[in-house]
Symmetry: C2
């Protein structure tokens, strides 16, 4: 039996592999299908999280909010898969990696969260910059982390988000080295996806963001910035995870950074078309 290329997999097929226990970053998986960050909190903290996201839309673009206790939703309905294995997704099992925080401390990194589930948990699906990576490749912008088969590097910056009740924290960014002559292309292409982080927050000069060592990302893997490349920083959906942990919420369930939820939405759904 031929093994399909990971980029050709349908969302339900990818979710089935992760449900079976495969742990891997998802950059490059399921071309054209939207990937999402997950952040799950008790219902009595949900207002603060939604308000935090609303006040920090570039880093926390909300794609959907699931009702308390819900483990699936319209973006995971399987319909997009159009194939026999198109079963609805389950956020408790279908990500390739999770983080569980209690009182702000990372206590576990399980491959499912069935044992942590409660009926009062409200889940937020937050946009992910992997959504515009296909558009970057199509425009001729190379993606160094994909070439190396590694996770994208992510950094906690010195820039603070606008707080909302308890949640407060730093802007988290992802970094991609971009050849200098392609930086303006990368800005233009990603600017057309404002609901999944949009244009970069910074081109070059990592120290202005308080990043002192690119080789030591806070999440993901380091990716060298070769001569001729410029480090380009985009707002990252790990930002709410940093905020709710800094705020020491009693329980937070989130994805392992870079190990995303593959949804049944299409990347084009988040593309701004201007004529």
């Amino acid at each position: 039996m031929a093994v399909p290329n990971l980029s050709d997999l349908r969302p339900a097929a990818a979710r089935a592999r992760f449900r079976a226990g495969l742990v891997t970053p998802t950059s490059g998986w399921c071309d054209g299908w939207t990937q999402a960050n997950l952040i799950t909190v008790p219902a009595d903290r949900a207002w603060d999280v939604l308000l935090f996201a609303q006040r920090n839309p570039q880093s926390c673009p909300v794609l959907d909010v699931l009702e308390a206790g819900a483990t699936s939703g319209p973006l995971l309905d399987g319909a997009g898969s159009g194939c026999a294995d198109g079963s609805p997704g389950d956020i408790r099992t279908d990500l390739p990696g999770y983080r569980v925080y209690r009182d702000g401390e990372l206590t576990e990194q399980p491959t499912d969260v069935l044992g942590h589930w409660r009926e009062d948990l409200v889940s937020f699906l937050i946009g992910c910059s992997f959504t515009f990576e296909r558009a970057l490749l199509a425009a001729g912008v190379p993606l160094r982390h994909l070439e190396r088969g590694s996770n994208v590097p992510m950094y906690r910056t010195a820039r603070r988000c606008r707080p909302a009740g308890a949640p407060a924290g730093p802007l988290v960014v992802s970094m991609r080295p971009v050849p200098a002559e392609l930086v303006s292309t990368a800005v233009a292409v990603t600017g057309r996806y404002p609901s999944v982080h949009g244009a970069p927050v910074r081109v070059g000069d990592p120290e202005a963001l308080g990043i002192t060592d690119l080789d030591r990302p806070d999440y993901g893997d380091p990716v060298p910035v070769d001569g001729g490349d410029v480090p380009v920083f985009w707002a990252c959906g790990v930002t709410p995870q940093a905020a709710v942990t800094e705020s020491r919420l009693p329980l937070v369930i989130a994805h392992e950074p870079g190990h995303m939820l593959v949804t049944d939405a299409r990347d084009e759904d988040y593309l701004i078309r201007t004529a």
Copy 2:
């Protein structure tokens, strides 16, 4: 003393007039400054409203949420006015007209809501299509309601919003007659403002939206659609007002439709730039 043209007024100056009691639709006022819909509810209903807005972003684009009890905020800081009368805005007095609903019934249409204010009230500022009207005019698209000096007509449609807890209701649209040869221009121009309703939800064929008589809008004033013009419909920020009233919330304070809050934000802040 020369009377400045209404379109040249600074936001703080306009707000001062409304605070003094002037009642008027605000289309055409304060060129380049962003106008907003207001919806204020008790804090224990705020989650539902914010979730409703998040699930219906085209009709309910949230520009800001004020903390419980707050009567001003960053979009009303007066800083944008850059003049001696640049005092911060107060949402209780600075709109030219209000609606107060109790248990879903319209009970009052006062010119301020000082007497209704409570410390547990949470206010949402929602984007308004007046934001892109200057861009339409600049592109040569005439605005018939402005030519007539009347309020824009708004209609409750047969299309339902995606519900969120209690709030559920119809999509409300504003209508502008557009010369047929300029419809594609109008679509392109407004599509660049996705955070203030964006491109039309419908061009022509009002019955498909369940609108049976254009001469009888549910809010605002009728505007005739002359031969050569096509009725074009945009999602409208009165939508959350229709939803929270249909849901019979105990208390809702909102603007009188078309009588908006003039903020210190610039229209350009909501323009998507793609290169």
